[in-house]
Amino acid sequence: MIETAALGTDRPDIAKLLNARTAGSGHRTMMFAHGFGCDQNMWRYVAPAFEADFRTVLFDYVGAGGSDLSAYNADKYASLDGYADDLIALAKALDVTDGVFVGHSVSAMIGLIAARQAPELFSTLVLVAPSPCYIDDGAYKGGFSRDQILELLEFLDSNHMGWSEAMAPVIMGNADRPELSEELTGSFCRTDPEVAKRFARTTFLSDSRADLGPVDARVLILQCRDDVIAPASVGEYLQRAMPGSELVQLEATGHCPNLSAPEETTAAIKAFV
């Protein structure tokens, strides 16, 4: 209990730090966590569907979206534990207990780590396109060779592929796209390039297989078809490694079903929570 208090006072405004947005109402809380390469906006077509029944919380990890970039610390965020600490701090600051955690991609593992450390926070874990390890390892097929991942990291080091610089929104003037004229260009999927390099390193070199195994929470795994980042073999591996977990095969293809097939994703989650 003392530890809890210490965590709370450690970060006086964790909600502001992580640009947390709450909406909806319900006696349970549903937290949505984005994956590498994006920010909380990736949940914009899914989260609203749950506002009638849950208090929904969206947030940005440090270095993404509208988070406080000055809080980025290379040492802390060199491992997923650093991210899990932030998640736990935020959940506690928001008095989340018996909540639902929805994590995309690497966020699924961050949620799992957090749930192990603080089991009272989440009683339901929804893992969307998750992967505990991206590098092939003997019989385990993560989807990439070590060389390929190292090549990715080297490439990120010396190439600016298209991350939005300085996370500053630019007003878009678009007469022929009236639905977007009110919104800011470059304000979605904001990721600081320097942070992206390091988050990529943390994500793609991570191996969370040791964190798998029985958990108290109910676990749902959403597996996409044709997902290069989290292939079917990984989904199956996860399901076997987490006894009692449910694996749902989506029709959606690619790595972000919450964007490419939001209705299907929403339905699958609703059926479970």
Binding site: G35, C38, N41, E151, H160, G162, V228, T253, L259
Partner: protein, 376 residues
């Protein structure tokens, strides 16, 4: 639109457009894909770049054209951005050719919606080999420059800390010598003895001024800045007279004329203004014509304090004039003594007082003018 021999041709008031040809032979690659990024059509230009036929590309995902790095970027950032923003431009990727080699490319993509759903994704691709080489060159140069800055900054800090310590260490023995000189001065001395004491005193003055300048410089660079201790109650004139007297004692053969019109209270740091005058005067004596007088004019009007020091001799060239106030600048004639700090410190003192220090030089005279605003 009219169909002519199976090709789409539109007649506009500006003339017909063969859209089929415009698509196929565009000076860029053009890919049309479904909402999942699966290629429905690729143009000839792109096919040529990939080393495959346009038909072979149909059904592949756009990300299949990219190496692993590009695939990961596509799935984690490119595609999500397309879904939410509707477009994504200037993405720097690589195209994998049929023979396994890679070409740097730049990609723009935009979605077409029917109702709310994505009906089509359109990609334009440009080769960017030259651009990429240029960017790499710039990045390398920037990294090297940054490394140089870091190491030079470290060296510079060490040097300045050394100077600061040295300056402090030198003041002590100098203070001893100075009090020793004052004590001796009270003794009965021969003519020669008095002369020697005079010369020793002059040397101490010079040395002390040098140490002051050096310490100020080191402190300024290390972030201390020139601190002022303003006092309008104490008169400035006696301090200036003292400075002139000290420098007269160092340069006995020289003519130094001084005019003072300081009949009002002046809010300034007297010691600093004295230091400024000392530096300007020392400079004039060292670099001016040795057989011409040095003139000092100090006057305070209702809104301005002006101290001007002028000497004769060769005019200072304009390129030199520009750089005079930089630290360690010693001009063409390095034989003349000095570290090159005096003018820099003087200009810093001027700035600290909210004033200016300018230099003018022609065949008649070289004049340094310090001007500082005064409250009414």
């Amino acid at each position: 639109m009219s169909e002519t021999a199976g090709r789409s041709v539109a007649s506009t008031s500006l003339g017909p457009i063969d859209f089929e040809d415009v698509f196929e032979a565009a000076p860029c690659g053009y890919v049309l894909a479904d909402k999942d990024g699966r290629v429905s059509r690729a143009n000839q230009t792109l096919a040529g770049w990939t080393g495959k036929t346009a038909l072979e590309l149909v059904g592949k995902r756009f990300s299949d054209l990219l190496p692993v790095t590009g695939k990961i970027f596509y799935e984690t950032h490119f595609a999500p951005t397309l879904h939410m923003e509707g477009s994504f431009s200037e993405v720097a990727l690589e195209l994998v050719r049929a023979d396994g080699t890679r070409s740097p490319i730049l990609v723009n993509a935009a979605v077409v919606r029917h109702g709310g759903d994505i009906a089509q994704i359109r990609y334009t691709i440009f080769l960017a080999e030259e651009r990429r080489l240029y960017e790499r060159g710039l990045l390398d140069a920037r990294n090297k420059a940054q490394e140089t800055i870091v190491s030079e900054r470290a060296e510079s800090e060490l040097r300045e800390q050394f100077i600061a310590v040295l300056g402090h260490d030198l003041r002590n023995p100098l203070a001893s010598i100075s009090s020793g000189i004052h004590m001796l001065d009270k003794e009965t001395l021969s003519e020669r003895g008095k002369k020697v004491i005079g010369l020793m005193g002059g040397s101490v003055v010079r040395a002390a001024a040098l140490i002051d300048n050096v310490l100020d410089f080191a402190r300024g660079r290390l972030g201390g800045g020139i601190t002022l201790d303003r006092d309008a109650a104490e008169p400035l004139e006696p301090v200036l007279r003292q400075v002139v007297a000290e420098l007269r004692s160092i340069a006995p053969g020289r003519t130094i004329t001084a005019n003072y019109k300081l009949d009002r209270p002046i809010s300034c740091d007297r010691v600093r203004i004295g230091q400024l005058l000392s530096n300007l005067l020392g400079n004039a004596l060292t670099h001016g014509a040795q057989d011409e007088p040095v003139n000092i004019d100090a006057s305070a009007s209702h809104d301005e304090l002006i101290i001007a020091v002028s000497n004769g001799g060769q005019p200072i060239p304009s390129q030199t004039l520009e750089r005079l106030f930089q630290p360690f600048f010693r001009g063409e004639d390095r034989v003349k003594h000095g570290l090159g700090l005096g003018l820099h410190i003087a200009s810093e003192i001027a700035k600290a007082h909210g004033g200016t220090l300018v230099a003018r030089s022609d065949t008649t005279a070289t004049t340094f003018i310090f001007a500082m605003p005064l409250a009414e």
